[in-house]
């Protein structure tokens, strides 16, 4: 269950960005691929625990999922493939490069003005 460690790291990073912008965090958007080693349902579950401990009880996590896609180094064709069979859909070669599917990315944050902080104009 390394998802909890990942959530803590994610929230630390989000906090730094929010602090730099003097804002609160409404939503954290992450992009997860099947080959990242992170399970989206476990990440969501871990996040609901970690956000309390990190002092962000109202922050939501939005998980975008990518699919495993490869490009064949032999014939050049692109295919969408299962997680454990990275074989070219056209020529069946395993000499392929991954073009998506291993992402574990903090994509964006939706920031909101901190209600307690009043910013004076000028």
């Amino acid at each position: 269950m390394h998802e909890l460690s990942i959530c803590q790291s994610l929230l630390d990073q989000a906090r730094q960005i929010a602090d730099q912008n003097k804002a609160g965090i409404e939503t954290i958007v992450v992009l997860i691929g099947p080959l990242s080693g992170v399970e989206a349902p476990l990440l969501a579950q871990a996040f609901s625990i970690a956000r309390q401990a990190a002092g962000f009880p109202d922050t939501e996590l939005e998980i975008e999922l990518s699919s495993v896609r490869i490009r064949c180094r032999q014939c050049g064709s692109e295919s969408k493939v299962p997680n454990n069979a990275l074989l070219c859909g056209s020529c069946q070669s395993w000499r392929v490069e991954l073009i998506s599917g291993d992402e574990m990315i903090l994509k964006s944050l939706v920031l909101i003005e901190k209600p307690a902080v009043m910013v004076k104009a000028g």
């Binding site: 390394h2 790291s9 960005i17 454990n84 992402e103 990315i105 994509k107 939706v110 920031l111």
Partner: protein, 270 residues
């Protein structure tokens, strides 16, 4: 080392990085800020620091991963016995509890630091960093990091090592690479261990295991060996020799995990 893209940028999502508009405002006036860094940004940062530390002392660091009981410590014992006079070896041991493995290694006459992780199912770069304070890197050539026995979680954490070695014992089943694709896709070397037991098993086919690794688009060498049969260890020692030489020539060796992310990062900073 990639701090901004987190080494997870592939051609499929590269457009996200190159798009304009770092900070865009949504319709209702909220600010949406684009970040695009690895979820393990802090860990990766520390891992890069560890790698620099190893490189400064010209030490090759290797991360050993496998399920519990597949023979990581036994392999290290046999390796130290055979190569202990050729290379100055140090070991970092990761387990949930006990000093047992570190004691086994110390009994071979080499320094070992035990990390007990408590409930954590993997080592991370910070734990390894702390352990390195207890090793005199200046007097070592190779540091083996024996990760927590687990085929899932350790795969996600860069420790600052130079290569990933995954052990699969022949009693575990030849389809493990298909079951744990994240771990085996990121392996720079796969060792099929306990080969002395192959004659008693009718359901482990080394070629099938190798094919499963290839089906993850991984061209890493797959070697079959037994730590109890020194004559089977030669190819493993040859691989080690080659790695030590390669690292001496080029310190920029890193686990072959995210070459596309690395390429994009170096392009954007050049």
């Amino acid at each position: 080392m990639c701090e901004t893209c987190g080494c997870t940028i592939t051609p499929g999502n590269a457009h996200l990085v190159t798009d304009e508009g770092h900070l865009a405002h949504t319709k209702d006036g909220k600010a949406s800020i684009e970040v695009l860094s690895s979820l393990l940004h802090e860990n990766n940062h520390m891992a890069a620091h560890n790698r620099e530390h190893f490189n400064r002392h010209n030490v090759l660091a290797l991360n050993l991963m496998s399920s519990p009981g597949s023979g990581k410590t036994a392999l290290l014992e046999a390796t130290i016995k055979a190569l202990g006079s050729k290379y100055r070896i140090g070991v970092v041991e990761g387990d949930l509890e006990t000093e047992n493995d570190a004691q086994r290694i110390r009994a071979q006459g080499v320094p070992a630091v035990q990390i007990t992780t408590g409930q954590a199912c993997h080592l991370d770069a910070h734990m390894v960093h702390d352990a390195l304070h207890e090793l005199d890197l200046g007097s070592l050539d190779i540091v083996f990091i024996e990760n927590v026995g687990n085929l899932v979680c350790p795969a996600s954490f860069d420790l600052g090592h130079h290569a990933n070695i995954t052990l699969l014992s022949v009693t575990e089943g030849d389809d493990k690479p298909a079951k744990y694709p994240v771990m085996f896709r990121g392996s720079d070397l796969v060792l099929l261990t306990k080969s002395d037991l192959l004659e008693y098993l009718d359901d482990f086919d080394t070629q099938k295991a190798k094919n499963h690794v290839r089906h993850l688009a991984n061209a890493a060498p797959v070697l079959t060996l037994s730590s109890r049969r020194e004559e089977t260890l030669k190819p493993w020692f040859n691989w080690l020799d080659a790695m030590v030489k390669a690292h001496q020539k080029n310190q920029n060796i890193a686990p072959t995990m995210q070459p596309d992310g690395m390429a994009l990062h170096s392009a954007s900073t050049s």
